[in-house]
């Protein structure tokens, strides 16, 4: 085979390899869904972040508007500090509230933003004050059992 022929075939091979990598990155993984373009950082304090993980989506009205970039513990107030990157083209009022929600009954957790009515918008570095913590299933079940027991007790006392 001529040198040029071999080089063409190798070029095809390398091209096929890169197409495969691109296919894996774009079609199988989340490169296309990753927020591109400019973002601004907002933090929120939660009493309990539950099973929230970095890179979890931040949604408003069900639309993904950003991603969680890091989660840390505030050593002074002992609250979870969630840092998130929101897309620049979405602005939210200053009194927006954040809640940690779950997709489906056992799905992954994400942050839901509920816009408020303030005239000013959240700026980079702002902190969301009004937050609702993640529902911890164990506490929920414990509460339910406790209520049930209390009901049983009152009925027995009648």
């Amino acid at each position: 085979m001529t040198r040029r022929g071999i080089e063409t075939l190798v070029g095809l091979f390398v091209l096929a390899g890169f197409v495969a990598i691109g296919y894996l990155a774009l079609k199988a993984a989340n490169l296309a869904a990753m927020t591109v373009g400019e973002t601004y950082t907002v933090t929120a304090l939660f009493d309990n972040v539950g099973g929230l993980k970095p890179r979890a989506p931040v949604k408003s009205a069900g639309v993904t508007v950003g991603r969680v970039s890091s989660i840390a513990l505030d050593g002074r107030t002992f609250q979870g500090v969630v840092t998130m990157e929101l897309e620049k083209r979405y602005a939210f009022p200053k009194d927006t509230s954040a809640a940690i929600l779950t997709a489906g009954l056992l799905g992954d957790q994400y942050i839901g933003l509920n816009p408020g009515g303030d005239d000013d918008n959240l700026a980079a570095g702002d902190t969301i004050r009004m937050t609702q913590s993640a529902v911890v299933l164990e506490n929920f079940i414990g509460q339910m059992l406790y209520n049930r027991a209390a009901e049983g007790g009152t009925e027995a006392n009648k």
Partner: protein, 263 residues
């Protein structure tokens, strides 16, 4: 065998083993030193890419397709018990990208390309072609071995990516077209669960490491083969055995380092 006899034997075995290990490391360092010079004759690398990469595409693609088919069938069987059949795409993609893609490609590579490298170099040595090159003041490491090493290192990650991509397509064919899982769910679950750097990127790093390992083992065994027909045959066998074991052990180590830490 008396006890007096046992200790010297054990010592000889251990020393021989250490000698081979050290010799291999020295050989590897020597090869690396020769790679820049091999890059200057880039055509040699391209020719090796053709021999190693192009000819492996068919077996890699066929195996990837078969593995994707089977993964989808077996995964569906288990997942449907828990009512999570829609996660099939995620299961297929994660197992391929993280583990099966790099590992099975490396095993196939050892059998398909590693053996031919060992046999080729072993026969070159048996035919005293390497010695003749040295007489002509051509370093065979630079002219023969280094281009092959580079070719193998470049080809392996590309082949692994093709394996995974074809495997995911195979999973799609069985999961969506045959079994009838909703295609939207299939892809969206996959995209939500597979991370570009943590999963695809680490898989690529794995296959790069395997590429270095498999190619180096094949070249070393060929270069150190006894210059007889039996010697070449034994070296070819050792190439497959050693590179397969090395790939599986390295895979465990790499997986433990890459994926066990929670992100």
């Amino acid at each position: 065998m008396s006890f007096d006899d046992f200790l010297p034997r054990l010592g000889r075995w251990a020393l021989g083993y250490l000698f081979r290990l050290g010799h291999g490391a020295y050989f590897f360092a020597d090869l690396l030193k020769n790679t820049p010079a091999a890059l200057r004759r880039f055509y040699l690398v391209v020719a090796q890419l053709h021999a190693i990469g192009n000819y492996s595409v068919v077996i890699i693609a066929a195996s990837g397709l078969a593995v994707g088919f089977v993964l989808a069938l077996q995964g569906y069987y288990t997942l449907s018990r828990y009512g999570a059949a829609e996660s099939l795409g995620l299961l297929v993609a994660l197992s391929l990208v993280r583990e099966l893609g790099p590992v099975v490609t490396a095993l196939l590579f050892a059998g398909r390309a590693g053996t031919s490298l060992t046999a080729e170099i072993g026969l070159m040595k048996a035919g005293e072609q390497l010695a003749a090159m040295e007489l002509m003041a051509i370093d065979p490491k630079q002219r023969v071995l280094a281009p092959r090493l580079l070719g193998g290192i470049v080809a392996m990650p590309l082949l692994a990516a093709m394996f995974s991509a074809v495997g995911i397509f195979g999973g799609y064919v069985v999961g969506v077209l045959l079994i009838g899982i909703d295609p939207g769910q299939f892809w969206s679950q996959m995209q939500a669960g597979v991370d570009v750097w943590d999963d695809v990127g680490n898989g690529m790093i794995k296959s790069f490491v395997f590429g270095v390992t498999c190619t180096f083992v094949a070249l070393y065994e060929g270069h150190e083969a006894n210059a007889t027909p039996e010697g070449v045959a034994q070296a070819t066998t050792r190439t497959v055995v050693i590179s397969s074991l090395a790939v599986l052990l390295l895979d465990f180590v790499l997986t433990a380092v890459m994926f066990s830490t929670p992100r």
